[in-house]
Symmetry: D3
Subunit: 238 residues, 6 copies
């Protein structure tokens, strides 16, 4: 099977890191292709950034279906334009949020989503409501690091551990969801430290769980319901 990962940014600086993580979880019969935008934002931290990413993302997604890809992962926790793309193509389309919280819900009862900045909390809270998962969220804490600083893995890990411990101790979190696909390659280390500190919460990476979820849907022959995402009557060009 062939999976297209669309990184909805004009930069390819995250691609290598994404590829490394994804290679760990893809099945032998799965090939991955990563693509960036030609026009759009450098990072996604607002609804307006999502809006800017839209036109190019839609084009790439439609092209991916034409090229025979079996599924699309829009590589952003906030799932920008995912509902629009689900209308346009027949192959399954997922974002970072869905795969991560479905995994979390399977292995725990309540979990916390850790956000990069205060300003994305409401955006992620909207997704929680859209997926009907309010009851399972312990809290939505914030590490206070913008996306562009997330490659400081040491600081990121420290912040994630500190915030996770508080979520576990104070809010009743039983698992931790990393709330940004830019938080790459830290989930296992954070989980290791939490376990060491006597708080053995699983830590869920939204990039790898999205890719395995997508493989699952493809193997099952499942895609977005046309009763939820009806196909637009005519596909008007921009």
């Amino acid at each position: 099977m062939k999976i297209k990962i669309i990184v909805p940014l004009v930069t390819d600086e995250y691609n290598a890191g994404i590829k490394k993580e994804v290679d760990r979880v893809k099945a032998p019969d799965c090939s991955i292709s990563i693509e960036n935008l030609k026009k759009g934002p450098c990072s996604i931290e607002s609804r307006y950034d999502e809006f800017l990413a839209g036109p190019d993302m839609v084009k790439i997604a439609c092209k991916a279906q034409d090229q025979g890809f079996d599924g699309i992962f829009i590589d952003c926790f906030g799932e920008p334009l995912v509902p629009v793309v689900r209308e346009l193509v027949d192959i399954p389309v997922i974002g970072g949020f869905g795969g991560a919280i479905m995994a979390a819900n399977m292995i725990s009862q309540k979990f916390s989503i850790i956000n990069v900045l205060d300003k994305v909390v409401a955006m992620n809270q909207t997704l929680v409501r859209n997926y009907g998962m309010v009851e399972n969220i312990a809290s939505m804490p914030v590490i206070g690091m913008p996306v562009k600083e997330l490659n400081d893995k040491k600081k990121l890990t420290e912040r994630l551990v500190a915030v996770s411990l508080e979520a576990i101790d104070t809010h009743g979190a039983q698992a931790i969801v990393l709330g940004c696909t830019g938080m790459l390659d830290v989930a296992r280390e954070v989980a290791r430290i939490l376990k060491e500190k006597g708080k053995p919460a699983p830590v869920i990476d939204p990039t790898t769980t999205a890719v395995t979820l997508l493989q699952s849907l493809i193997r099952n022959g499942l895609s977005q319901s046309r009763l939820t995402y009806s196909k637009p009557e005519e596909q008007k060009s921009l």
Copy 2:
């Protein structure tokens, strides 16, 4: 006060009807300006239609603020791009959904939202969840008429009455929300017939309630919270 109504369509065929209704509910000190898109869809019945309306709508909204308007009503029940525009401007921005359900929630305990077509039900259900109003919805029935046929007021009224009666009798609706801003100039007639038939449910027009809600926010000096809709760091042009 000056209110800008953006009709997110490339056609101005609804403008006269909108103006007529809005004139009934605007205060003496309120002036209204209606504007259509130069580029975009003819009707909004999918998330993709909303996407197509986006770029021009964002430009008009930003321009409206620069021109000194006090508030913006994006004249579509589905509230396309409303969260994006709320980030970009400081004046209050509302869509058709919010004003209508807030009014319904004030005058009843449970109400039904009547949809044009099956395919928009999931879109409107998403808004119900976003506003945290699931508990107050009695049902989401459908009249089975596309937007372009809504000017057949006779058929529209008949369908609305039939569906409303079922919502009241079977689903426990105590008020009726017209779930499309294209259902113009029928609310009072539907309410009259329902009362005549012994089912005196108020019928809520999303266009007029949006305009009065916007006036309310402006008079109170209130606008969207910057803790919900943070201002994007830099306003990158498309």
Copy 3:
């Protein structure tokens, strides 16, 4: 249009303050009349106080309808007897709670209601449930000031700012609802200070938002649903 404000207290000491605030938000074609009780409590801080206010309030409300008023605002956040009065009259009747939370829900996703005393929290929580708004409440904090001390605007403002900051930082509030109509003429100042401190939450005054909501309902020709508030068969006198 003519609006009757019933202050459900035997004292008229708040009337001037109410008038001043209401004058700021009423439309040019709206006139307001404020009336107090002849018999009843001095302040409302318990369900028993609400009970004591009942008989006289019901009489004034019925009289207001006979006198041609277009709507009634029962000027107390706790909405004492509002459901009873809604049954008795045909014109729209609102209390302080409804208008304030509807405005809050329109401009934010989660908000906190600030209470005067611990003992009214459960009363206001009941209203939250009645309106089906549990999901949108961030918290219900308390300033610890009885109604009769609320005219100390300096202390009131300080307490509101302190409690609001905690609600924003700790509970995820994105907007602040002043949970007592006696908290007059402080909303803008509290909002200003919050913004200055980097926490730009809108602050919602229940008196002014009630009056603008009532104007909205009247302009739309809407009143409480008779399917929710059925008219009593015969109006037995006390």
Copy 4:
């Protein structure tokens, strides 16, 4: 222990029936005293009727505490004035709704509350929300009989069976709550018929379950929390 039952009506025509039912469920060490209003409504089918019952009910309740009663049952499913009386007295106070749904919730997962008339559905739905029990309600069907006709036990039983069967088959009800304390002495017969028809739903009588609940609270030394129902500062006479 001594229990006071206040029937919030000016008529004593139901007292014998109440006594007969209550005698079946009271413990050997429990004595019951039934009291009617001197002033108030003949039946309770609106919030205004509840309001009319208020003043006399409050007096009787306070007197009952002075006379050494150990608990009060306000004998109406709608629980009129129960929150007010809970503030005023220290002994436990319950209405018909609470005891019935607590029993229903213990022996089933979802249940229906059967209402006398359309117009009381919203009143009972408010109680459902107040007790935080929305999730457990299968439906709120109506038999269409006013309170004064409920002594036609044959018709009442037939209507209850018909409506219960529909609630079980169509709405997923697993138990039936009789939603009016005037539906006396029919619960067992309705349950028998339902079982005979292959739908063995328990049928819950709000009068007898209230009395046994009250006995339970008294034996446990429990009464309404003063953190929910704070004592009014001074008990102002009417």
Copy 5:
């Protein structure tokens, strides 16, 4: 009436304490018989402990019905195997959780359940969800004492008071549910201290409230619904 209490442990060390408490709340016409397991765990602090208690508990329960008991109380807050036993017997079966939270819900609006150890919180949270009571839970704090240490009444009382005060002050608890039937003979003392400290929350003992609830069900002739707990077709032996 005859009630069987099954203590799902191989030890009888708690029986005397249980008997003492239960004797306080049983009616004159009620006799109690306490029985322990021959095979099973010493304490229940995990789902596996519940599993171990299963086979013997099922046998004792079936035997109790044959012996003419009128109801069964499985004396553990976690309600181990209660759904299984409800299927097998016709007499009412309850556990510690249900009776306690029903009482709490009747006398307060929101309450906290105090847990022995972190590891039972998720188990009790599952019960909260099963009973559809999520909205009424203020918090689920922990005292950090294993069951076997609960006979240190002094330490237990101190811990319960400390945790209750935090639940009241920080989480909005209005009543306290002791979340383990091993917390015997402390409820009144904890309530007394809380009242003394100005936080008059009722404290609910799950053992005594279970026994009075069971008496209530028996007096009303009510038992678990066969539409919720269908009788197994044939009772296969292990």
Copy 6:
């Protein structure tokens, strides 16, 4: 990776069908081993059947971990003993319910779970609550066929189509979850017919989605949280 499927029945008659379906969705690097009980029920249609399956299932699960399996699928929609087994082993353990509803929630907003018999509805409703997914369930309809008749694929398909159409048309279902792992090898055919009839709902097979979910968890190195499923202190033998 090696997956153990435990069919919690004493019969191996379903094994070939399970193997056939599972082979369609397993990745090239995944091997599957199916095992039945030596002692237990022939089908699972009650909580008592689940109880009977317990002891042998626990042994097989623990042995599977010792033998180096990477994950366990307890092949029953009702997830019997899954919480107990999750405590006992470190490798991920899932049942049929979780995988199916997580897939459904990813590709639709509301979905129906189709049950074999009335008597399992409450059991599956309990799982809905446990996973915090109440809001996403459109309905829980029943086909009225016991497990042992499910190999009549023609009748099964007809019943599933009929019930699915009603769920889509009347209850708002956008996807269909087959609520029994015995409904093998019919999902695609039911989906094909629904599409043909103009109701293109995805149909989710709980067996195949469980196996792909388990592969996903294993690839991500995720297992049940020890904060939700704490390891029992000592593993007492039966």
